[in-house]
């Protein structure tokens, strides 16, 4: 089938404003992924098209873009899932709320700053056990935060959030998900510190339960639920 591509282009060294670049691709298979088609545009038609991808298999989280109006990983979207007719259009633009470096590439530093701000690492609550082996945990306790271990920091959720669009100072869904992973870990000793961080003006109270983040997650993390659980933990004063 034939597919029309509309890609948001911006080269800060040349362009005053972003514009839509249009490209037509023939022989597109329904089982092609959008990333492969972006590659075809770059390799066959316009080598200046700039995009970011590493593993290309939905694990590294570097090719988050907005495809036909919704944040997705370009490497995980099959053409057939877009329900296109022959000659149909695929619109690709950078995710919103982070500075555009060039074309589809955005600067992730502000996003990672928010991630780092929630202490996304294990802080032991107890000294290492005497036998020198791991700190043990019941399967139930482990299951409590299983969902939020899956995050790959692609920023699909954070950049789908109108509260984040409104203020880049909002810590955002992804950082809260990563805080949730440690807040609800019974072996961790910094729960209260993280809850204090997330109760700041830029923290969880900026969430308006809009639910854009949950369907945006390519890992199917229950993002809004995790944010809700953190809110309740702050209200309770502990996990």
């Amino acid at each position: 089938m034939k597919v029309k591509f509309r890609i948001r282009r911006f080269n800060p060294e040349v362009d005053k404003k972003p514009y839509w670049g249009e490209y037509t691709l023939d022989n597109v298979e329904p089982t092609d992924r959008v990333l492969e088609l972006l590659h075809r545009v770059k390799w066959e038609q316009d080598g200046t098209l700039t995009l970011r991808r590493s593993c290309a298999h939905g694990v590294c989280g570097s090719d988050a873009v907005r495809i036909n109006g919704v944040n997705k990983l370009a490497c995980k979207v099959l053409v057939k899932s877009l329900n296109l007719k022959d000659g149909g259009q695929i619109q690709v633009e950078p995710i919103l709320g982070l500075p555009v470096v060039k074309d589809l590439v955005v600067d992730f530093e502000p996003f990672f700053d928010h991630y780092r701000s929630v202490m996304p690492y294990f802080v032991p609550a107890t000294p290492l056990p005497g036998d020198g082996r791991e700190r043990r945990q019941s399967p139930e306790d482990r299951a409590r935060f299983d969902d939020t271990t899956k995050c790959i920091l692609c920023a699909c959720c954070t950049t789908s959030c109108p509260s984040f669009w409104a203020s880049g100072q909002y810590v955002g869904p992804a950082a809260i998900v990563n805080a949730h992973r440690f807040i609800f870990d019974t072996r961790d000793g910094a729960t209260q510190e993280r809850l204090n961080i997330l109760s700041e003006e830029s923290g969880v109270w900026r969430c308006r339960t809009i639910f854009n983040c949950t369907p945006a997650c390519p890992r199917e993390i229950e993002v809004t639920r995790a944010i809700g659980e953190v809110k309740l933990a702050i209200q309770r004063g502990g996990r």
Binding site: G69, W165, N196, G203, T209, I210, T224, R225
Partner: protein, 343 residues
């Protein structure tokens, strides 16, 4: 403010699901209700302090323009209440999130189901009123009197901006802060709880209020002489709106002025809930420190002023001599008995 434009345009462009539109509707209806709340508290306080002025205000509420506004107001309140219940449900049961899309549909459905009979009854009041060939307030009179409110808003915001600018000159704090405020906000945690609790309390109070003064009696019947006064055993003998207000506030059950307590509770909860909602909107979109501080100041002042004014009116009550003053006030008001919208 630039992010307000971005948020509006990108919310229209982003293909979010129903939750996104529920949020948009919740904000729009909330802002609309707050705007009316401000007019309504000030107007109603006139029943106690300027009975003549109150009669004019009720005359305006009976005009076609405000009738359209009344229908919009009732729809906004019903949607905001229903969607508020949905928000509270998923805030306290986040593990039920997968039902939220369905719940958003139910909210829309329930709003329509509630609105159909409500609008039918309200429309009945409208028809009945126009059957009697009423004297209608003209559009220009409405614009003239509402312009005072607009002027008031402008003055308050301008004063707040000047104060905020003065503060910025002294402290040197201007522009958008590079880093977010890093203090844990007990206030925001507390307000989060208050918004949910007050919302749950407001729903039955405001539905009762709507039922009494928009459905059972309606704004058109509060100026009918000889009409019984809803929620009391009294009759509106003068046919003046101030008598309606005065008799309701003076109605005692076992020595307790139940409607004063009811109105006071509704006033306090709704003003704090509504103005805090306004604060959320300001926090979202006003990033410049001078502007944000000014608007926050205006909001705090507005909320305090409305609560003080409302409670002062409730405590003062309506003097029975006011029933006559209202009559004079109304007669001095220019009226053109022509078509709807004042010809």
């Amino acid at each position: 403010m630039a992010t307000l434009v971005t948020t509006i345009t990108e919310t229209l462009r982003y293909k979010g699901k129903l939750g996104q539109w529920s949020w948009v509707l919740h904000r729009v209806t909330g802002l609309g209700v707050v705007l009316f709340l401000i007019l309504h508290v000030i107007d109603t306080s006139w029943a106690a302090f300027y009975p003549g002025q109150y009669a004019k205000a009720i005359g305006e509420y009976q005009s076609p323009l405000f009738t359209l506004g009344e229908f919009a107001l009732v729809a906004a309140i019903i949607y905001h209440a229903m969607n508020g219940l949905r928000i509270v449900l998923f805030d306290f049961k986040p593990e039920w999130w997968h039902l939220q899309q369905k719940a958003a549909m139910i909210v829309l459905g329930a709003s329509v189901v509630l609105l159909v009979p409500t609008f039918a009854i309200m429309f009945g009041h409208v028809l009945h009123y126009y059957d009697g060939n009423p004297d209608l307030v003209t559009i220009s009179d409405i614009i003239q009197s509402q312009a005072q409110f607009l002027l008031g808003f402008v003055v308050i915001i301008a004063a707040a901006l000047l104060l905020s600018l003065a503060y910025a000159l002294i402290t040197g704090e201007t522009g958008t802060p590079a880093r977010p405020n890093r203090r844990p906000s007990q206030f925001d945690a507390w307000m989060w709880r208050f918004m949910r609790l007050s919302g749950l309390l407001i729903v039955p109070l405001v539905f009762g209020h709507l039922a009494m003064v928009h459905l059972i009696q309606g704004v058109f019947d509060i100026t009918t002489s000889g009409h019984s006064i809803v929620g009391t055993d009294a009759v509106n003998s003068s046919g003046k709106a101030v008598e309606f207000v005065g008799r309701r506030w003076d109605y005692l059950v076992a020595g307790v002025a139940i409607w004063r307590i009811y109105d006071g509770a509704l006033l306090a909860l709704v003003v704090v809930h509504g103005f805090n909602g306004l604060r959320y909107v300001v926090n979202d979109y006003a990033h410049d420190r001078v502007v944000r501080r000014a608007l926050t100041l205006a909001i705090a002042f507005g909320a305090a002023a409305l609560i003080i004014l409302g409670f002062a009116a409730l405590l003062a009550g309506v003097d029975e001599t006011a029933y006559g003053i209202a009559k004079e006030g109304l007669e001095s008001f220019s009226k053109v008995p022509t078509s709807p919208f004042g010809g």
